[in-house]
Amino acid sequence: MTPLLECRGISKRFTKRLDLAAKLARGLGAAVAEETVVAVDRVDLAVHEREVVGLVGESGCGKSTLGRIAVGVLPPDQGQVLYRGRRRDTLKGEAAVAAALAVQMIFQNPFASLNPRLRVRDIVGEAPVYHGIVARRDAGSYVAELLRRVGLDPAYADRYPHQFSGGQRQRIGIARALAVKPELIVCDEAVAALDVSIQAQVLNVFIRLREELGLAYLFISHDLGVVEHISDRVAVMYLGRIVEMAPTEELFAAPNHPYTRALIAEAPRLDRRGQSYAPIVGEIPSPLDPPRGCHFHPRCRHAMDRCRQEAPALRQIARGRVSACHLNDQP
């Protein structure tokens, strides 16, 4: 089956260009060089129709960059994004617009992602009117219907974002994404900024919309509990690479990669009382200067010589499961 959206061999580098002073300094022999971060390093990831894929990892692992590439707001340096099997960068005209509208995004910060000068009716209604999804004269009732869908009173349509709480703003963000009838929504830490009780409400909106509209999500989060709850499949990222991917239940029941194991073991849980933490040592290395070989080896209890030299490839370890660890090659 052709996936709804497929990322193939995606890489993204960010380079900090030298300013004039730095160039002069280099001309005079100072040891300054351009700094390059490989945010995403040859990643393959597919999302099928009506599927929820969780993408977890810690800060700086590249999960947000990958999400932005999947939506199309950032171009990849290498690799392709395929929408229903067709390269998105080769699409033209109506097909390109349709592919762009099909994938929408919801952001982490509900205070920064809504234009403070627009009323809710315009925030939600502008795009569908522009794209001819709804006639301008019907926009009011269309927006009202969307607000109802995300659990907001349609009477709020004339208000401005500052008149809403964080949870309500996130619902406005969801309504805005839904307005162009997407098939896939990329949710980048969409519930991270919310209080626990409000987080549950917004997660429930996601779950309900998925059932009602047959949506697929790429759900990016650092919160394993949230990802475990909502996802069908989970990919774990570490320093730009996917290190493991598996169906949710299997990943949480029997994590394979040492990093996944550590993440799951250390996440605080309600049923883990009087825990004695035995954390993995060390910091997450700087993405400016990632370790050679396997990126995780300086923090890994099982690291061998081979891990310091050679980056492990993602290999199938069971049906539907891949992991990038040399330990899997050991007899």
């Binding site: 409000i198 549950a200 779950i207 709850h229 550590a262 009382r273 009087g274 910091e283």
Partner: protein, 328 residues
């Protein structure tokens, strides 16, 4: 647990006058924490949890003020202590860690300057070499690699996790009897959070520090705390030993908080959620402050329920407490 409490807060009220009226950020809160004990202070935004911490260390910014109540630290009432004596306590016998380590650290000073200053401010005769030796030891204790080298760094040269560790090292410099931690791991990654929790836990055990861990995250409290106080709209709604609160929560709000945690629910099905949102502190409902979001509310809830002991050590502010065992 029969030791005298390190801290006993009794009927604390913190108020902020605003143009729209008086905001009662903390409204009659009492709690106690004993040496070596970890108290989890749980609440969502606006519940008053941070204000309680700031009251104890007396750092509430005007026009906010402590309007009533007593804060007894080792039997001494901090609300009446003159500022010079408070300053001698603050940072020495009572320390606080913040969510943002840059609340503790000065961005334009090197770490050695800041740590040595924190030492000599309270021990004026400490020799420079001795202060430096203790600064190195403090950083090493919270797991900072090559502490000698790190001492010459500025805060911006460190990662968030490192900065938070430095803030912890400074908070622990004088081995405080009471440490107030206001969500210091919320902004950190899971693996770094686990490292910090393990360090704080070890230090409490080692030195018998009483710890108040302020958080909105019950999961963190589950791994760390001995007892829990749950706040809602400035009031304590439930308090008791950790197991009682997590397994036999009686207040519908506490129950709702626990049920909202995704891992308590079956995968993919809607979470059991609390309806609505917390009331504005300027427009609190009469009677029980949770009643508008509560499925059990009735006419009785139009009066304010008292916080009353429902089981030994377990108090709840509710006319209709939940009595059945929590679903597993």
């Amino acid at each position: 647990m029969s030791a005298e409490p390190t801290l006993f807060v009794d009927g604390l009220e913190v108020q902020f006058p605003t143009r729209a009226g008086i905001v009662r950020a903390v409204d009659g809160v009492s709690l106690a924490v004993r040496p070596g004990e970890v108290l989890g202070l749980v609440g969502e935004s606006g519940s008053g949890k941070t204000m309680i911490g700031l009251s104890v260390i007396r750092l509430i910014d005007p026009p906010g003020r402590i309007a009533a109540g007593h804060i007894l630290f080792r039997g001494e009432d901090l609300t009446r202590l003159p500022e010079p004596r408070m300053r001698a306590l603050r940072g020495v016998r009572i320390a606080m860690m913040f969510q943002d380590p840059m609340m503790t650290l000065n961005p334009v000073l090197r770490l050695d300057t800041q740590i040595v200053e924190a030492l000599t401010a309270h021990v004026p005769r400490m020799a420079a070499a001795e202060a430096r030796r203790r600064a190195v030891a403090a950083l090493a204790r919270v797991g900072i690699p090559s502490p000698e080298e790190r001492l010459r760094a500025y805060p911006h040269q460190l990662s968030g996790g490192m900065r938070q560790r430095v803030a912890i090292a400074i908070a622990l410099l004088h081995r405080p009897e009471l440490l107030i931690a206001d969500e210091p791991t919320t902004a950190l990654d899971v693996t770094i959070q686990a490292q910090i929790l393990s360090e704080v836990q070890g230090l409490c055990r080692e030195y018998g520090t009483a710890l108040i861990w302020i958080t909105h995250d019950l999961s963190v409290v589950a791994g760390l705390a001995d007892s829990v106080v749950v706040l809602y709209a400035g009031q304590v709604v439930e308090s008791g030993p950790l197991g009682d609160i997590l397994d036999r929560a009686m207040h519908p709000y506490t129950r709702g908080l626990i049920d909202s945690v995704p891992s308590r629910n079956r995968r993919g099905v809607p979470l059991r959620q609390i309806a609505g949102m917390a009331p504005s502190p300027l427009d609190l409902p009469s009677g029980c402050r949770f009643r508008e979001r509560c499925g059990r509310a009735d006419a009785a809830c139009l009066a304010m329920p008292e916080l009353a002991e429902a089981a030994p050590g377990h108090a709840v502010r509710c006319f209709h407490p939940v009595r059945d065992a929590a679903p597993a």
